[in-house]
């Protein structure tokens, strides 16, 4: 008997089941197909404009920073301003995402924009979020050539573009959008939820930012309600 069969047989013996019981199988199939929601915190049950305000508050609460821009055309200027304010080289790495490629980068001629995954040598990375979640100020990132996952983790400074219309109240709403985009039961290779910059409290429980991931997380929230 393979170890797989041994483990499954042992689980079934302990549960007193054969694995063939139709009602059990149906219950499991229904749960996966229906993916029922449990308790949903009321804090994000708000009109969209207030969800956006909650998202901004929660990002700051998690030690991130945020700029709210009226229009995508302001993004190159905001990226350059972020780098200048921290005395960083005017250079940023991004993925192939058309929503980033279409930004008017020529408005910032001194800003170098590189395209590709990170090998750890870049100080600043720019990604486009799949969604933002108001209840905790979380940015949801999906992997792929548009926004390689290494950009989320290796640069010292991670800038994330979140469109205001992609801000949802809760995680469950974000899953609905992901299922609509990728199909039910299907996931991109990596989904990163990011809530603030990297940190550690492993030395005497003193909270310090910038453990292995980005030392700073900056959200560029774009557009109105």
């Amino acid at each position: 008997m393979s170890s797989r069969d041994t483990v499954l047989a042992s689980v079934r013996r302990a549960l007193g089941v054969s694995g063939q019981e139709a009602p059990r199988r149906q219950e499991v199939a229904d749960r996966i197909a229906g993916h029922p929601r449990g308790i949903i915190p009321a804090r994000a049950d708000l009109p969209h404009a207030e969800q956006i305000e909650l998202f901004k508050r929660m990002v700051v609460g998690a030690a991130g920073s945020i700029d709210h821009l009226a229009d995508p055309s302001e993004v190159p200027g905001a990226v350059a301003a972020y780098l200048r304010a921290r005395n960083l080289p005017l250079s940023v790495l991004r993925g192939q995402d058309a929503r980033l490629a279409d930004l008017p980068w020529s408005s910032e001629p001194t800003l170098d924009v590189w395209i590709g995954p990170s090998d750890g040598k870049q100080l600043a990375g720019l990604s486009h979020a799949f969604a933002g979640v108001a209840e905790s100020g979380t940015a949801i990132m999906v992997s792929g050539p548009d926004n390689p996952s290494t950009l989320n983790l290796l640069p010292d400074h991670h800038l994330i573009l979140v469109r205001a219309r992609d801000v949802v109240g809760t995680y469950e709403e974000a899953w609905d959008r992901l299922r609509a985009a990728y199909g039910p039961g299907t996931m991109p290779r990596t989904v990163n939820w990011i809530t603030g910059p990297s940190r550690s409290a492993d030395i005497e429980q003193t909270l310090l930012l910038g453990a292995h991931g980005p030392r700073s997380l900056h959200i560029l929230l774009v557009g109105g309600v």
Binding site: V11, H35, N192, G196, G210, H212, G213
Partner: protein, 477 residues
């Protein structure tokens, strides 16, 4: 090869821990920090307790259908191009991981924090096979360079202080200038970041644990604040997930419920910084991510726990709240428990995994104050399960003879009210009279174990039974 077990020497371990001044200094910070942060997070979310019920129900449902969710998970991982391996015990899990590493010609592996890896003693095994494991969680890295085991399931180096860390860094990082300043914790963190960044980029294989496995999508999930586990599963060519079988949850909605209670219970955060969902290897068009994805699902005694009341222990999501709130853990720290899992959850899990013969001391290391159960995010009745093990210990004659005889005498007296009431009444009067001057005893015959480290209060008023009787008759009149 497995982790050394010193649980049978718990009492000696505890005595040493109580006499260890640096350890006591480190432990004095455990309670105030963790308890306050959890309380604050709970108070910010009115639905917190309802979410704990929800989390409990999700886990109960999953465990009752675990065979089917395991099958579904396996099918979905394969569909995404990954591999699932089942391991009956620790030796088999080590073997599977080593084989994958050898087949890839791996020389170094980076590791995210994984208690299952500690449970199966993976690092020693890898070293013996000529493969260098590099722990990347800061706390795990600290204890790895000290050759120690973790003393807490989410804060493995909580027993260390800053000066010890500085001394270890100077001892190990000899290629760095000796005159460098490491007095500030930020300098220590920056040095670890620099050292480990190079390891991340050079590793052939990344090994992580899993906080959850999602049956709906064949996804493994890890939660970190540092980003280390996330880099571990993104940069190397091969990603191996080590998970015990109770990590399964049905759907993404279910895991969202559990994530809402996990960070709040553990560190008091609204959400941990990184929650990474991995499904299979990199896709054809991807520019990064591992080319291979393996999940090793470990049983190691857990399936047997499904049969009885210990099934409730398999709800555990490893937040650490029980030990953060435990007066015994606060006093002796994690190493005294003598194996991988300390605190109340360890006191229940350890006898289940290594046997009651070796683990019998741990369920006794509790005052049954009940705080662990009060804070458990999945409502595990930890005192009840510790009592279950105490009964098993007694049944199997593992209890020391003096305790057994003492309990025998006690039960003889306690079951005879005509004997018990006057005997306790007399004892109370005598103690009250003898302790009248100070109100407490610094030493007392037959109670040296108690009075050695603290005073025994002198009784006041009547016995409990006498007071109870008086109250009842007072209420009736």
């Amino acid at each position: 090869m497995s982790v050394q077990i010193t649980s049978p020497r718990f009492k000696d371990n505890a005595r040493h821990a109580l006499d260890d001044a640096p350890l006591q200094a480190a432990l004095s910070k455990v309670g105030p920090g963790f308890i306050g942060r959890r309380t604050a997070a709970r108070d910010l979310l009115p639905e917190f307790d309802a979410l704990r019920d929800s989390a409990r129900d999700i886990k109960n449902h999953t465990l009752a259908h675990l065979d089917l969710y395991l099958e579904r998970f396996e099918a979905k991982v394969k569909e995404a191009g990954g591999h699932v391996h089942f391991a009956v015990d620790a030796a088999e899990a080590r073997e599977i991981v080593t084989r994958i590493c050898r087949d890839r010609g791996a020389k170094t592996v980076t590791k995210g924090k994984s208690m299952v890896s500690e449970e199966i003693g993976l690092n020693d095994h890898l070293v013996a096979c000529g493969i260098e494991p590099v722990e990347t969680d800061l706390g795990e890295y600290l204890i790895q360079i000290r050759g120690e085991a973790p003393s807490h399931i989410i804060a493995p180096a909580i027993h260390l202080n800053k000066d010890q860390v500085e001394a270890d860094f100077r001892r190990v990082h000899t290629h760095l200038p000796p005159e460098r300043n490491l007095t500030e914790p930020t300098a220590l963190l920056a040095e670890a970041r620099g050292e480990l960044r190079a390891k991340f980029l050079a590793a052939d294989v990344g090994i992580t644990g899993a906080n959850f496995l999602v049956a709906e999508t064949g996804t493994s999930i890890i939660v970190t604040n540092e980003g280390n586990g996330d880099l571990t599963q993104t940069l190397p060519g091969t990603h191996i997930v080590l998970a015990s079988l109770e990590k399964l949850v049905p759907t993404l909605e279910d895991v969202s419920q559990l994530l809402r209670v996990l960070a709040r219970s553990a560190t008091g955060q609204e959400m941990s910084v990184y929650t990474t969902f991995s499904t299979g290897p990199r896709r054809p068009q991807d520019l990064d991510g591992p080319g291979e994805y393996h999940v090793v699902i470990l049983d190691n005694g857990r399936s047997a726990m499904l049969a009885g009341q210990l099934r409730e222990m398999l709800r555990c999501i490893r937040c650490g709240a029980c030990m953060n709130h435990c007066p015994v853990y606060h006093a002796v720290g994690g190493h005294a428990y003598g194996w991988v899992y300390p605190g109340p959850m360890g006191a229940v899990l350890t006898p289940s995994l290594i046997g009651i013969e070796k683990g019998a001391n741990l369920p006794n290391a509790s005052t049954f104050c009940g705080r662990c159960e009060e804070v458990c995010p999945v409502r595990i009745p930890l005192p009840k399960l510790m009592r279950h093990w105490r009964e098993k210990e007694f049944e199997r004659h593992l209890t020391p003879a003096p305790v057994r005889y003492g309990l025998g005498i006690w039960s003889f007296v306690a079951r005879r009210g005509w004997l018990y009431r006057p005997a306790t009444d007399l004892a109370m009067r005598l103690l009250a009279m003898a302790g009248r001057a100070k109100g407490r005893f610094a030493s007392l015959p037959l109670a040296g174990g108690w009075t050695k480290v603290r005073d025994f209060p002198a009784p006041q008023g009547g016995t409990f039974q006498a007071q109870w009787k008086a109250r009842k008759s007072g209420r009736a009149s």
